[in-house]
C-alpha cells in the first residue's frame, strides 16, 4: 500500500529519526559499549600546575588486586610514535611547535596533566590504583597569567620553545590605518577582556579501544566530531597503517568543538589495549572534563576606534592577547579568524590588527562553538559605547554603519565580499518587534521604583560557510563528499563523514534527499560513524547545512539520474518521461506504470541490464559549497538587574536571523536557543577559574555553574527571507551564531539597565558580585 509522502519535507519541522531511540534510553553512547574482556582506565594526574616529575613509582599500584597494568608516561612513549600535536600538524598550523610526550614525563604543565595510566577490571579499581601511584614532583613557578607568560623571566612550559610565546607577535594592516586615524574627529580607546569558559557537553570525552593481534587491526569506539580525523591521528600515533585502524562512533552527547581528533588519554588507552590484548575503555569524568579537556575564550583586547562626530566608524586598530593554555590546540589559530571577521557587516575602511599568543599552566585552548566569537563581542561592545558617547542610539549607529547590500557586493576590508547580507533588515525587524519607545517609558517608570530594566542588542555575521570568493574555493573547509546508494530494499542510503552530536543530521539530510529523489522520508537512511564506510568529513564550523545539505541534494540528483537511466531501459521509455514519487518510478501521466525503486535496484543487482551497464546504483558525490553565503542576524534582550544583589533576570530575548533556506525549522531554532543559553551561561554563570598560583578552582558543577531552565527565557525567533545566491543550495549554517552574538547582546542590556549608575562594561563575565562592584566603582568615580 503506498503512503502519501509529504509534498516537501525540506522546510518542514519533520520529527527526528533520532528521537525514538533517544527518548527510550536506547541510544548508544561510548560508555554504553561493553566488550568481552574489557578493562577500564583511569589516569594519575598532577595536582600541581607546573612542576618537574622527579620519579613515578607504580609498584604498589601494580600489586592491587584487580589492577591489570600500570604504564608510566615513559612507558607510553615506548608504545607510541612520538611527535608534535597531531591535530595541529594536520590543520597545517605554522609557528612554534612545542615538544611533549603523550603522557607527562619530565614535567607537568597544568593541574590534571596525566602522568600514568592505570588499567583495571573496573573504573572503581582503576581509581583505587591511581591513589597508590607515588609521584615525586618539584614545584616550578606557575605561569598563571598571560602577562607573566609574556615576561621573558617566566619559566618556559616547553623547553624547546625557550619562552612562553605560543604564537609570536604579528601585525597586519588593511587600508590606510594611519591616515584614517589622522582624519578621524574622535579616537576612542578601549580595553576589553573576555574570560575563560568552556564547552561542557553533558557527555565527556571517552573511547573504547580494542586491538586484534591476528589482523593487526585497532578498532576504536569514540565520541568525536569526525571519525576519519580520529582514525588518522590514532594511526599516526600508534604507528599503524591507516587501513589497520577503524573508528566507530554511535550517539554522542554533545561536543561544541571539544571532541576533535584523538586526545592524549584516548591514545594512551589505545596503546594499553594493544599491549594487553584486551579492550580498554576510558570515560572522562566531570572532574577531568572541567579540569583538563580544554577551555576557551580567554582573550584581551586593546582597541582604538577612529570615528567621525556624526558617527561613522572609519577604522579600528586592535591589539589582541590570547591565553592558549598549556598543550597546543586551537588557540594559536584563533587570532587569524578574529582578524578576518572583525569588520563584520560594517563599512570599515581601515583595520590594523596585531596579536600575540602565550602558553600558560592552564588547560589547552580548544575550539568552542564560534571560536572567533570575541570579534563580535568586542565590536558590538564598542559600538554601543561609541553611540552613547556621541549621544546616538546604538541601533541608529549600527544602521548608519552597516554595509548595504549592493551588486557587486561591498568587500570587508579584510577581503571577503558581503554578498547577500541582511543585517539592515534584521536590525529593522528587531526594532519593530521590541518597540523601543514603549520600553523606554516602562524603563523610566521602573526606575522610580528602584527597579533597573535594560535593553540591549548586537548583530553579527557568520561565515557559514561564507561566500564564494571570485575565483576561489567557497567555504573554509573545501569540498564535502557523500556516497549515495540505492539498496535492494529500495532504501536510499547516504554515507556521510558528518558526525552529528545533536545537529539532527540523520533527519535533515534525509529530508533533502527524500525530496530530491522522490521517496518517503522513511525510505532514506543516513549512515554515520564508521571509517570503513563513510568518506572524510568533520562536523563543525557551521558548515554542514550548506556543504552536506548541498552534497545530499546534488548527490541525490546524480543518483536519481543513474536510477532513471536503468528504469528507462526497463520501462522502455526515455528517462525524461519518468518521474519518481513516493518511492516509485512511473511514466508521467500513467500511474499504473509505477514500479517500486526496490524492484529497479534488485534487477540492476541481478545484472539484468547487460554486461555494459554499470549496475552499481551508487554515486560518490562532492560539493564545493556552490555560491555559499553568510548567515547572520540580530539579537535583542530585555533584562532586569537587582541593584542590591546583582542578580540578573533575562525577561525577554528576541532573535531575527538569516540562515538562508531552512531545512528543518525546529532543528534551526533548537540550535539558536542552545547557543543563546550558552551565551547566558558565559555572561552570568560560567567561568573556568584559576587562582593566581595556577590552581584550578572550578572542577565540579558546584563551582562551574551551568544555566538551567530557570535561567533561560523563552526565545522568540523570526527567520528572514533569504537572499538566494545559488540555484539550488541556499541552506546556511546556524550552529554557532547564537553563542557568538548572545554575550554582547546581554552585556549591552545589562549596561543599559545600569545607565543611572553611569556604568560602562568592558568585560564579559558579570556574576552578581561583579555587578555590585561595577555600580560601586562608577558611583565613586562620579
Amino acid at each position: 500500500m503506498t503512503r502519501i509522502a509529504a509534498e516537501r519535507y525540506t522546510g518542514a519541522s519533520i520529527r527526528r529519526s533520532e528521537d525514538p531511540r533517544i527518548l527510550t534510553g536506547a541510544g548508544r553512547y561510548v560508555d554504553d559499549i561493553k566488550l568481552p574482556g574489557m578493562l577500564h582506565a583511569a589516569f594519575v594526574r598532577s595536582p600541581l600546575p607546573h612542576a618537574r616529575v622527579l620519579s613515578v613509582d607504580v609498584s604498589a599500584a601494580r600489586k592491587l588486586p584487580g589492577v591489570v597494568a600500570v604504564y608510566t608516561g615513559a612507558e607510553i612513549e615506548e608504545m607510541t610514535v612520538p611527535g608534535p600535536d597531531a591535530l595541529s600538524t594536520l590543520l597545517g598550523s605554522t609557528g612554534p611547535t612545542p615538544e611533549f610526550s603523550l603522557l607527562a614525563t619530565g614535567k607537568v604543565r597544568m593541574v590534571g596533566d596525566p602522568v600514568a595510566i592505570v588499567v583495571a577490571e573496573s573504573r572503581y579499581l582503576a581509581e583505587d590504583g591511581c591513589e597508590l601511584v607515588e609521584v615525586e614532583y618539584e614545584d616550578l613557578p606557575p605561569v598563571a597569567t598571560a602577562d607573566f607568560a609574556l615576561d621573558p623571566a617566566s619559566p618556559p612550559l616547553f623547553e624547546n620553545l625557550g619562552n612562553n610565546i605560543a604564537r609570536p607577535h604579528t601585525r597586519n594592516e588593511f587600508g590606510d590605518v594611519a591616515g584614517t586615524f589622522d582624519r578621524a574627529d574622535r579616537v576612542f580607546d578601549f580595553h576589553i577582556d573576555v574570560h575563560r569558559h568552556q564547552n561542557v557537553p553533558m557527555e565527556g570525552r571517552g573511547s573504547v579501544a580494542s586491538y586484534d593481534a591476528d589482523s593487526g587491526r585497532m578498532t576504536v569506539y569514540t565520541a568525536t566530531q569526525s571519525v576519519q580525523l580520529s582514525k588518522i591521528i590514532v594511526a599516526m600515533r600508534l604507528g599503524l597503517e591507516q587501513d589497520k585502524v577503524r573508528v566507530l562512533a554511535g550517539d554522542i552527547g554533545g561536543s561544541f568543538g571539544l571532541k576533535i581528533g584523538a586526545s592524549r588519554e584516548e591514545l594512551a588507552a589505545a596503546a594499553a589495549a594493544r599491549a594487553l590484548g584486551r579492550p580498554v575503555k576510558w570515560i572522562e569524568d566531570r572532574g577531568e572534563n572541567l579540569t583538563v579537556s580544554g577551555q576557551a575564550r580567554e582573550e584581551s583586547f586593546d582597541i582604538r576606534a577612529a570615528v567621525t562626530s556624526d558617527g561613522d566608524l572609519l577604522g579600528l586598530d586592535v591589539k589582541m592577547l590570547i591565553d592558549t593554555g598549556s598543550y597546543p590546540a586551537m588557540g594559536g589559530g584563533v587570532p587569524d579568524i578574529i582578524q578576518a571577521m572583525l569588520p563584520g557587516p560594517y563599512k570599515l575602511t581601515a583595520l590594523g590588527f596585531e596579536s600575540t599568543g602565550v602558553t600558560t599552566n592552564k588547560a589547552p585552548y580548544v575550539a568552542y562553538r564560534g571560536p572567533w566569537a570575541s570579534e563580535t563581542f568586542v565590536r558590538e561592545r564598542i559600538l554601543d559605547v561609541i553611540a552613547k558617547e556621541l549621544g546616538l542610539e546604538p541601533l541608529d549607529l549600527r544602521l548608519r554603519n552597516v554595509a548595504s547590500r549592493t551588486d557587486p557586493p561591498a568587500l570587508m576590508i579584510t577581503g571577503r565580499p558581503l554578498v547577500g547580507i541582511t543585517t539592515r533588515e534584521s536590525l529593522d525587524r528587531v526594532a519593530a518587534m521590541m518597540d523601543y519607545p514603549a520600553f523606554r517609558q516602562r524603563q523610566a517608570e521602573a526606575r522610580t521604583h528602584g527597579r533597573y530594566l535594560g535593553i540591549g542588542m548586537a548583530t553579527f555575521i557568520e561565515a557559514a560557510p561564507g561566500p564564494r570568493e571570485p575565483g576561489g574555493p567557497s567555504g573554509p573547509m573545501g569540498l564535502e563528499s557523500m556516497r549515495l546508494r540505492l539498496d535492494e530494499d529500495g532504501i536510499v542510503v547516504l554515507f556521510t563523514g558528518q558526525m552529528p552530536h545533536g545537529q539532527s543530521h540523520q533527519t535533515t539530510l534525509a529530508q533533502i534527499a527524500a525530496d530530491e529523489f522522490g521517496v518517503p522520508f522513511e525510505q532514506v537512511r543516513v549512515v554515520v560513524g564508521d571509517t570503513d564506510v563513510v568518506p572524510f568529513g568533520v562536523t563543525g564550523g557551521s558548515r554542514s547545512a550548506t556543504m552536506t545539505g548541498g552534497v545530499a541534494l546534488h548527490g541525490a540528483r546524480e543518483l536519481k539520474l543513474k536510477v532513471l537511466d536503468f528504469a528507462s531501459h526497463l520501462m522502455e521509455v526515455s528517462a525524461q518521461d519518468l518521474q519518481v514519487t513516493d518511492g516509485n518510478v512511473w511514466v508521467r501521466g500513467d500511474p499504473d506504470s509505477a514500479i517500486p525503486l526496490s524492484e529497479i535496484a534488485r534487477r540492476a543487482a541481478a545484472g539484468e541490464f547487460g554486461p555494459d551497464a554499470d549496475a552499481d546504483l551508487e554515486v560518490l558525490a562532492s560539493f564545493d559549497g556552490g555560491e555559499g553565503g553568510w548567515s547572520g542576524g540580530t539579537h535583542c534582550a530585555i533584562v532586569e538587574v537587582d541593584a542590591e544583589t546583582g542578580l540578573v533576570t533575562v525577561e525577554r530575548y528576541v532573535v531575527v536571523e538569516d540562515c538562508g533556506a531552512l531545512i528543518n525549522p525546529a532543528v534551526v531554532e533548537g540550535q539558536i536557543r542552545g547557543g543563546v543559553a550558552q551565551g547566558i551561561g558565559a555572561v552570568l554563570l560560567e567561568r573556568s577559574a584559576y587562582d593566581e598560583d595556577g590552581n584550578f578552582q572550578s572542577a565540579t558543577f558546584m563551582d562551574y555553574l551551568m544555566p538551567t531552565a530557570c535561567d533561560v527565557p523563552r526565545i522568540e525567533i523570526e527567520h528572514l527571507e533569504t537572499v538566494p545566491l545559488d540555484a539550488d543550495v541556499n541552506f546556511r549554517g546556524v550552529g554557532e551564531g547564537g553563542m557568538i552574538v548572545a554575550p554582547p547582546t546581554l552585556v549591552s542590556a545589562i549596561e543599559d539597565a545600569l545607565t543611572p549608575f553611569g556604568v560602562r562594561i568592558y568585560e564579559q563575565h558579570l556574576p552578581p558580585a561583579r555587578i555590585l562592584e561595577l555600580i560601586a566603582a562608577a558611583d565613586s568615580a562620579q
Binding site: 519541522s13 527518548l23 539532527s504 533548537g670 536557543r673 542552545g674 551551568m706
Partner: protein, 156 residues
C-alpha cells in the same frame, strides 16, 4: 559484596555488588540498563535521575545496596510494546532534545513531577526541571514537550 534484590521496571532483579557501587553504575553495568546516563557523579546535573519508590532520585547519589527491596523505574521501562508513552510522544512531537544525553534524566524527572502536578504552569515546570542540565536546547523545547503531554492528558 552484598546480595540485593530489587524490582526494576516491574521485574524482580538480583545482583551482587560492592557496597560502594552507586545505583547508577549498578543499573548500567550489572543490569545493562544503559539508558540512565552519568553526567557528573556528584548530584548536580540530573542526567542519572530515576524513580525509586515513586520519588525522583539522583541515582549517582544512592548506593545500589540502598535500593534493595525498592521499586525502581528507569527510562527503559516507560514505554510498553516498543512504542512511546504519551510523554515521550509529546517530546518527539516537540523536538524536545538534540544530543540526547540529558534526556533520560529529564524524562524521568518530568514523569515523576507530572504524576503529582498534572496541571503545573510553565514557571512551576521550569523550577521542577531546574535540577536537570541540558547543554543543547536552551530548555524551551523540553518545556514545550512536557506542557504538551500535560495538555493531552487533560484532554483524554
Amino acid at each position: 559484596m552484598v546480595d540485593i534484590t530489587l524490582r526494576v521496571n516491574g521485574e524482580t532483579r538480583t545482583g551482587s555488588t560492592e557496597a560502594r557501587k552507586t545505583l547508577a553504575d549498578f543499573l548500567r553495568d550489572d543490569l545493562e540498563l544503559t539508558g540512565t546516563h552519568v553526567g557528573c557523579e556528584h548530584g548536580v546535573c540530573g542526567a542519572c535521575t530515576v524513580i525509586v519508590d515513586d520519588r525522583p532520585v539522583r541515582s549517582c547519589l544512592m548506593l545500589a545496596v540502598q535500593a534493595a527491596g525498592s521499586e525502581v523505574a528507569t527510562i527503559e521501562g516507560l514505554a510498553t510494546d516498543g512504542g512511546l508513552n504519551p510523554l515521550q510522544q509529546a517530546m518527539w512531537d516537540s523536538h524536545s532534545f538534540q544530543c540526547g544525553f540529558c534526556t533520560p534524566g529529564f524524562v524521568m524527572q518530568a514523569t515523576a513531577f507530572l504524576r503529582k502536578h498534572p496541571d503545573a504552569d510553565e514557571q512551576q515546570l521550569r523550577e521542577a526541571l531546574s535540577g536537570n542540565i541540558c547543554r543543547c536546547t536552551g530548555y524551551q523545547s523540553i518545556i514545550d514537550g512536557v506542557l504538551l503531554a500535560a495538555e493531552r492528558n487533560r484532554e483524554r
